[in-house]
Each structure stands twice: as C-alpha cells, then as structure tokens.
C-alpha cells in the first residue's frame, strides 16, 4: 500500500509564484476572493476540471505552482467570462486563467502534441505572415502537427464545408502585410524594454 500525504504544507508553497499571480494583469484583486464558489458554479466546464475555478483561485494566490500549472482547468477554460461577470468581488477570473495558460505555455507544461499550444502557435504565425486567418489552412496545419488521424476523421466535415462554400481555400491576406511584421516586432521590443 502506497501512502501519500493528502494535506498540503505551507512549505510546499512557492511565494514567488504567489507574488507573480497577484501582480499579473487580472490577478490584482485575487486577495479579495471570498471562496464563495460562484465562479465554479457558473463555469460550464468545471465539471471536467481537476481543480474548479474556486479551488484554482485559492491555490494560485497561495502559490501552489505545481498544482496550478499542472491543472487541466487552465486548458479547459474557453474564456466565456461567466465566472468574471458573476464574481461578487469583481475578480478578473478569466483574465487570470489566461495569464496562467500563458505561463504554462512558457514553461512548456503540457503533454506532447497537445493541440492548444500548437493551435496558438499556428494562429500567431498565420497572423504574422498574412494579417488574417484562413480557417481551412489553420485547421489543416494544427491537425498535421497533432493528430493526422483526426485530420482524416474530419475530412467528411471538411468536404461538406467546402461544398457549401464555407471553407474557401483561397488564402486571406492583407495588402500591407509588412505592417504586421513592424507592429509585432515593435510590441516585442517594448515588452523587452519595459520588462512586461
């Protein structure tokens, strides 16, 4: 029989992470959280989560970094803002979830070939290169890098969309594409300069 401690000790905390959480965009008011649970109750996906939004709020403000960044919740969040508009303390729960997702991507804490970060990457590459998204090519690029079999499984839907004229293959592009590169490079430079 393998015995495991089920209660967290204060020593398991990462105070730096707790500090980061309360200073990041969205996390400013996290100390006001009452743990009322409205966020979890309103969340359409909390029933699939290992840590519901309420628990995630508590774990992150106390600095339980491993639990938070390893949680399925940050990937399940669809950003529907139900938690945020219902929070009695006006905590930006959704924005904080975004911040946690970004941090998890930065620290590469996700399974191999996991679709969400791949999608994010392909999306931003396409914006840089064309200025607009062509949905058909985005989907193909994501599935090629995650699950080729699912791409085949999706081919019937793809064909139906194509035949109904809803999946044009022509790539959408803006005329002044160099402006995209300038814009994105400038953001990167300012971010570095101001250490944002």
């Amino acid at each position: 029989m393998e015995l495991k401690r089920t209660v967290k000790f204060e020593a398991d905390r990462d105070p730096e992470f707790a500090r980061w959480v309360s200073h990041t965009v969205g996390g400013e008011r996290i100390r006001h959280c009452l743990q009322c649970g409205l966020c979890s109750g309103k969340c359409p996906l909390s029933l699939y989560m290992d840590y519901t939004p309420r628990r995630l709020m508590h774990l992150s403000r106390e600095g339980f970094k491993e639990e938070v960044l390893g949680s399925s919740s940050i990937w399940l969040c669809t950003a529907c803002y139900a938690c945020m508009v219902n929070c009695p303390k006006n905590i930006n729960v959704t924005h904080l979830l975004y911040a946690l997702k970004q941090r998890a991507i930065e620290e590469k804490r996700y399974p191999r070939r996991f679709a969400i970060p791949v999608m994010a990457r392909q999306f931003s590459d396409m914006v840089r290169g064309s200025g607009r998204i062509t949905e058909s090519w985005l989907v193909v690029r994501v599935f090629l890098r995650t699950s080729f079999w699912r791409l085949l499984g999706m081919s019937r839907l793809g064909a139906k969309l194509f035949l109904s004229g809803r999946m044009p293959l022509k790539r959408e592009k803006i005329h002044r594409q160099p402006e995209m590169e300038k814009l994105l490079d400038s953001v990167a430079a300012t971010r570095k300069e101001l250490a944002l």
Binding site: L45, T78, L157, K160, R166, L183, S186, A188
Partner: protein, 291 residues
Amino acid sequence: MRYAYYPGCSLRGTGRSYEESLLAVFRALDVEIDEIDDWNCCGATTYMSVDELTSYALASRNMALAERGHSEIIAPCAACYLVLNKTQHYIREYPSIKIVVTRALETIGLEYHDRIRVRHPLDVLLNDVKPENIAAKVKVPLNGLKFAPYYGCQIVRPYSTFDDQRDPTSMERLLEACGAKAVHYPLKTLCCGGSQKGTLPEVGLDLVHYLLKEAQKNGAEVVATVCPLCQFNLESFQKEAGERHDETSLPVLYFTQLMALALGAPAHTIGLQRGFVPIEPLLTTKEIAYA
C-alpha cells in the same frame, strides 16, 4: 451616419452566410457601412491566450484605421467584438499597455485616439434602427416560427452595455418584430465550447448536445445564433453529438438570416442553402412564402 464595418476572418470563411445575410439586412434597412480599409485579424481568443500584449496591438490597428472618418465601428463576430472592447478597456486601465500600443502603431504611421465606439449589429439594429421601423419593412412575416435565442458568451460578457449580461433579450425583440416567436431558453448565454471541439473533442460534444437538446425540449424549431463559432459548433457537430447522446435535428441559423428572409431577401443570397440541416421544409410547413 455611416458606420465603419469590421467583418473579421470567420465571416470570410465558415461564417460566410452571416456576412451575406447581415449585409442584406443593412441594405434593406438603409444602414450605411464602409468596410475598414485593409483590416487585419483581431487575434481572437487564441491569440489572447498566448500573447495578450500583441493582441491589443493587432486590435488597435483596426480601430485606428476606423477612426479615420468614422466614430462607430460594427463588429458582427463575437470574438472580434469582445477583443476590440477589451482592448479599449485595457488601454484605458493599464498605462503600460497604452505605451506598447502607441509605440507599435507609430511604427506603421497610425495613431489611436480612443474616439471610436464598438458596436454589435444587435445593438445597432435595436437601438439605432429600432424594432418598430423593422416591423414596418417586413415583407415576409415569419408566421410564429419558434426559435431558441442563443447568444453564447462573448457578445454580452463581459463588456457589452446594450443588453443584460445574464438574460439578454435583444435578439428576441428583433426577431419578434419580424413575426417569429421566441421559446424559453435558459441556456441562452451558456458557452458552446468555443474551439474545444477541435482541441478536447468530448467536452465540446457534450456542450453542443446540452444546448441543442434544451432548445428542442422547449419547442424550438430553429436555433438563432449571433456568433460564427456557436453557429459552426451547433450545426457541424449536431450529428456527432447525437450519436454520443440522443438525436436532435434543428436548423441553426444566424439571426440575420431570419431577419433578411423576413425583409424579403432571396434565400440563396443569404446563405440558406449552405446549412447542413435544411430549413426549407420548415419554412414550407410554416407557410412562410420566402423569396
């Protein structure tokens, strides 16, 4: 007044019938628009989650372009509408974000003055055009066609000011002016799962099923949507969700398709033929003599 129009990427792809029908509605009601010159992707939910700072810069390029000559911008796509609004709020609230955006726009010779108001077609049709004027122009009344008003998440939350965040009613008021009848639909602002169907399929299918099942249970003959992703999910995965749970068969249309129909636009010009669950038999049963 002429509005700046920001279609967004989806309306040129899977959401094509949204744009076709929206433009038909605007034409019928004399809403004058100018498409923003050389608009770019707003960054959507996907970009927001990897690199928020960049997404503010992307969104503000569109607003800066629209500000040249317009004071209001119409964004029909839910994600675009949210991102533009969020960008405005964050530029006001966080000085660091304002610096990033201002510098980025400078490099491409643009300036953002925070003088543009972001509006949704629901808002414009309800508050500028007004339901009574729409009712006066209806050519093909919708004969009590029962619809489930499905708003999804990002139109009414978190920034919209034109409707209630928990129980919005603007779509009901617009479509009832066209002769349709709303059914009770308490799930109207529940999330459809967004892009989860692509990334975590099982979860997406469950949500699609709850939404359709509830609409059917409450007597809806059609689901009316306002978001390209909601419409896509509910329609394209209806069969798959039915195989996993139990079957539903509901046409899923954009609210603008129903409005355009009532205002006399020919069916093939507003993308009715693009639907996967055909609507024509229903229109015949309801004796709606569409063009």
